[in-house]
């Protein structure tokens, strides 16, 4: 919505295609607060935040097709085949923004031994059951993974009267925002067990329990630490993966972000294709996603009117301790905000882009919270002159 609004605002004839009947995507199921603190300086729920964006979109004059799915896109031209209840339509454009969000890593990807019963849900699915459909997934639940949505679902299920026996995290530190650890777990007395995971699922038809095990620093189970926990519900918050299904056969993806390689304009390696939001890399805050979307929408509109030439870009190279990195390349002379996710927590960290171009000190760097580094036009130009532009997060 932010991309479409931004593009329409600068005069581009803009069409937004949305698979669901309602606009807002995952925001509509996120009925908890914490949205909009940066963008609107207000504490909004997900649907409230979406409602604001819907209003901005409507005012922008962009055309909106809901209940419409882009089936095929490109690769040679910005043409999409779209299906909806009115039939199939071919849409021609000058530029496309791919902003399809992310999907949840399924239980099958974890290869947890045991049975395959009902009662194992990804956190987002459980959230849709509870918040959209008004259905309770089970009676006694364990959450695997301390990503934000796992933490939020632990609280949500607790509030609906489900016994939440705890949240397990494979790593020795929580995956979600600190504020969510406090507000979702501590405030409700829900236990967070770091360096623990589920090693076996039990129950043929419905989940009857899980075996929980402690892991060592390499994530390997510690023999003898097995413990059986009776639950009928397992909620998984084990990773969001950028949605790239329609573009991945022909667009260069960043293996760590999971989404398309994008430059400072959020342009992919295909000049007419831009990508934004969680489809590029999973961001922490919807405020950031909206900001990024606006930039991509603006750039797409400029491309559509022939005002965004394709030039050399400068690929960024990750050094140790850098996970997500957006964008993955720079446009020389264009001011750019880098979003950098550290792989492990550091009490004091130096974020360096260069070598020797930008060096910033950050206190309390955590994998759950991306560090933002603003690069000026001069700095991106300077980085372009280096043999290799590197991004590094190291202890300070």
């Amino acid at each position: 919505m932010a991309a479409a609004t931004a593009a329409a605002h600068v005069g581009a004839r803009t069409l937004l295609i949305e698979r669901e009947e309602a606009l807002g995507g995952v925001l509509d199921q996120c009925i908890h607060p914490g949205f909009g603190l940066h963008r609107y300086r207000e504490d909004l729920t997900g649907p409230e935040f979406a409602h604001r964006l819907v209003g901005e979109l409507a005012a922008s004059g962009a055309e909106v097709w809901t209940g419409s799915t882009a089936l095929e896109l490109g690769p040679s031209r910005p043409v999409a085949r779209v299906v909806g209840t009115a039939g199939l339509v071919r849409v021609r454009a000058q530029a496309v923004v791919w902003a399809a969000g992310a999907w949840e890593r399924p239980v099958g990807a974890l290869l947890i031994p045991g049975t395959r019963p009902a009662g194992v849900f990804t956190a987002g699915l459980a959230q849709r059951f509870v918040n959209i459909h008004g259905l309770i997934p089970g009676r006694r639940a364990l959450v695997l993974g301390s990503g934000d949505i796992g933490l939020i679902m632990a609280r949500r299920l607790y509030l609906e009267g489900i016994e939440v026996v705890g949240v397990l995290e494979l790593r020795p530190f929580p995956g979600g925002l600190l504020r969510n650890v406090v507000q979702c777990l501590h405030d409700f007395g829900i236990q967070l067990r770091l360096s623990h995971t589920v090693s076996t699922l039990h129950g043929r038809d419905r989940l009857t329990g899980v075996t929980v095990v402690e892991v060592d620093e390499h994530g390997r189970p510690i023999v003898g630490s097995e413990e059986h926990i009776e639950v009928d519900t397992l909620i998984l918050s084990v990773g969001l993966i950028p949605e790239t299904r329609k573009i991945e056969p022909w667009v260069s993806l960043d293996p760590i972000n999971g989404g398309a390689d994008v430059d400072g304009w959020f342009r992919t390696r295909i000049p007419w294709l831009f990508s934004a939001g969680n489809a590029v890399a999973v961001f922490d805050l919807v405020d950031t996603v909206a900001r990024v979307g606006e930039r991509a929408g603006l750039a797409a509109a400029r491309h559509a009117r022939g005002d965004l030439p394709v030039g050399e870009t400068v690929p960024l190279v990750r050094e140790g301790n850098v996970g997500h990195l957006v964008p993955t390349s720079l446009v020389p002379g264009v001011a750019t905000t880098l979003f950098v996710r550290a792989r492990g927590p550091l009490p004091r960290a130096r974020v360096e882009v260069g070598p020797g171009v930008v060096s910033r000190l950050h206190v309390g760097v955590r994998p759950a919270e991306m560090v933002e580094v603003d690069l000026s036009p001069e700095e991106t130009t300077k980085l372009a002159s280096l043999p290799e532009a590197r991004v590094e997060v190291r202890p300070a």
């Binding site: 909806g84 949840e104 399924p106 990807a109 019963p117 009676r139």
Partner: protein
């Protein structure tokens, strides 16, 4: 003339369909909540060429015959079948010699097109195979299918021709008097029968025992599988076998008809009464990964989306137990170990013909041989799809984004008998893709609730005891 077929797997369903060609009342009884949910649901889905089996066995005979029937059957019953061919890969001189043996065995079994190729040929056809491959046996007639889809198609076609299905109903006894079958007794009723066909898969030994027979003696063998994300498909064009050992065909790399890649199976003998021991194990999955990586190293990096295990009915004789028995009217279609799926169409035809000869059945004057599958919008032309949407706009609503399954397809699956989330999944592939239902399970549940006029708490994943949700948020 009344016939009861026990077991609606691929074997029983195809037998029911073949018997439905004749003037007979055919009843298909299945203990699982849906068609094709036993052995048929969890195996490699391969239509074998017939070079793996010793000449002279029922395995070899029905495999070669069955393989040749699949194209026609897939056309008649409208299920996915691709003859993608297979390579058996050898990495050592010893394995190379085994390939010679397989080639000779295959030729004796009448398998067409087998050739042994040097490494260069293997690698030019399959560029991602381990480069130190010593040789490959190419078998062009090997195919891939969805065995449960074959079972569903056959059962639907049998029904259209007058047969009945009873799913979720377990046979508890076979009434035999003076050496003749009288009736089938289930947990819900008693059905008089002149003929009973035992196609009960892993439970065929129990069914046979109910008729007083000591064969087959079955030993479940567990096979664990890992399903990879469709992105792995770039590395695999045909079915890849390692050189077989005396125990099993080994860990395979199998392209699936819906565009994924399946790895497995392991071959682990479980206890004789462990007929539901379909748990996966850490060891088994490690064996699968290692075995597949030995054939195609690049697969080590490819993400998994699902793991599962199936049981196959090994028997002491290592051959099918098929045909008439000393109990008049009691027929076996049992111990259908690999290549049971391949053999099923030929076996079904042969068995139905033997029964019709023995009981002088008359062919139906009007047998409908063609069955139309649920429209798969993802495979339709724009014109066909548009026409479908015009008839029913639900075909324009994508419910499963991974596989592009529309609400219309899900509703049609329910009309044809799906009552569970898995029932929808196996009929439409909704929930079969990379997110494994994370994006669509709630929508499928809502459609099931609406179409079956039940409450959400009554909708199950795969039958009694597997409810998806427990309650409403507010009463």
């Amino acid at each position: 003339m009344r016939v009861a077929v026990v077991g609606a797997g691929i074997v029983g369903s195809l037998i029911a369909r073949e018997l439905a060609r004749y003037e007979a009342d055919v009843l298909l009884v299945e203990r699982e909540p849906d068609v094709g949910w036993g052995i048929t649901k969890a195996n490699s889905g391969i239509v074998h060429a017939g070079f793996h089996d010793p000449p002279g066995t029922a395995l070899a005979r029905f495999c070669a015959l069955g393989n040749a029937l699949f194209e026609q059957l897939a056309l008649e019953l409208d299920f996915a079948f691709h003859r993608c061919g297979a390579w058996v890969l050898a990495f050592t001189p010893d394995e190379r010699r085994v390939l010679d043996g397989l080639l000779n065995q295959g030729m004796e079994n009448g398998v067409p097109g087998l050739t042994i190729c040097p490494p260069d040929d293997v690698l030019s056809e399959q560029p991602y195979v381990t480069p130190d491959v010593a040789a490959g046996l190419w078998a062009p007639t090997v195919g891939i299918t969805e065995p449960w889809a074959v079972a569903l198609a056959a059962a639907e076609n049998a029904r259209e021709n007058g047969a009945d299905w009873h799913v979720g109903e377990a046979v508890t006894g076979i009434a035999v008097r003076t050496g003749r079958v009288q009736a089938v007794v289930t947990d819900r009723g008693r059905y008089a029968a002149d003929v009973v066909v035992n196609a009960a898969g892993l439970w065929a030994d129990r069914i046979a025992a109910m008729a007083g027979l000591s064969e087959p003696r079955l030993a479940p063998r567990r096979g664990e599988y890992i399903l990879l994300d469709a992105s792995a498909r770039a590395f695999v064009r045909s079915v890849l076998f390692p050189t077989p050992n005396p125990h099993s065909k080994g860990i395979l790399v199998v392209p699936t008809v819906d565009g994924g890649v399946l790895l497995g199976p392991t071959a682990e003998d479980v206890s004789l009464d462990a007929k539901r021991a379909t748990e996966t194990t850490a060891h088994g999955m490690a064996v699968v990964r290692a075995g597949a990586t030995r054939l195609v190293p690049a697969l080590a990096r490819m993400p998994a989306i699902h793991a599962f295990a199936g049981l196959r009915p090994e028997s002491s004789g290592r051959d099918f137990v098929v045909g008439p028995t000393p109990v008049r009217g009691f027929y076996q279609a049992a111990a259908m170990r690999s290549p049971g799926i391949t053999a099923a169409p030929a076996l079904a035809r042969w068995l139905a013909e033997s029964i019709s000869a023995e009981f002088s059945l008359q062919p139906k004057s009007r047998f409908i041989s063609a069955r139309k599958g649920i429209p798969r919008t993802a495979d339709l032309s724009a014109h066909e799809w548009d026409a479908l949407i015009e008839r029913d706009p639900h075909y324009g609503q994508i419910a499963c984004p991974c596989n592009g399954v529309t609400e219309g397809e899900i509703m049609e699956a329910i009309r044809r008998g799906a009552t569970t989330v898995d029932g929808v999944k196996f009929r439409t592939r909704a929930g079969f893709g990379r997110c494994q239902g994370g994006s669509c399970a709630d929508r499928v549940l809502a459609i099931l609730t609406r179409e079956l006029c039940v409450s959400p708490e009554e909708v199950t994943l795969r039958g009694p005891g597997s409810a998806l949700v427990a309650d409403r948020v507010r009463p």
